[in-house]
Amino acid sequence: MVVRVQQAAFDLGAELERFSAARKDAGAVVSFTGLVRDDAGGALDRMVIEHYPGMTERAILEIEAEAVERWALKDVLIIHRFGDLRPGDRIMMVATAARHRKEAFEAAEFLMDYLKSRAPFWKKEFTRDGAEWVASKDEDEAALGRW
């Protein structure tokens, strides 16, 4: 089980290779990667992600522990970046390893739903027209209800 909160970019291929290598107890590995999306039609210059050092790690570990217990996961990897990012940059990734794919998919979705609105990160977008904090969506909060 690994949780990393970091400024640096990560190598998606290498992370997944390491995560799934020589694993004999899990038949399924699912991963999700979040990217900086330019909704401004090319006008997004950069995104700055702020977080709450200390609470961030703690909140993610709590979310992870719940997923491990509910889906009997064999392993979890969560990497989330902060700082200055450009359109197309990877913001974060989660990977889950379980005996079967259903558990791995569901747990990855659960992790993403909770990381979205319970991990203390805030995104600010800088476009040609100015800077704006990304607002949370009601549907993100509602998504927690299905778990």
């Binding site: 979040g34 709450y52 993403m112 609105s117 600010k124």
Partner: protein, 82 residues
Amino acid sequence: MIDVLYFAWVRERIGLPREKVETSAETVADLVEELKAREERYAVAFADVSALRVAVDQELTEFSAPLAGAREVAFFPPMTGG
């Protein structure tokens, strides 16, 4: 004396990321009232607490939560991780 932390637009509106506050507030809501009474920038930042979230000692909680024994209180908008 407790550490009060601000993040995202709350930090920008108040103009600082953290400060030490001498308070005898019993709950988070009482602390918010004390801060609002200080200066206009606090009143602006805390104008609508339904748009804010609070963590006491790094655990999300409610504005009605007690502050007894708390070391750190953080105010921020709804989180946008992932």
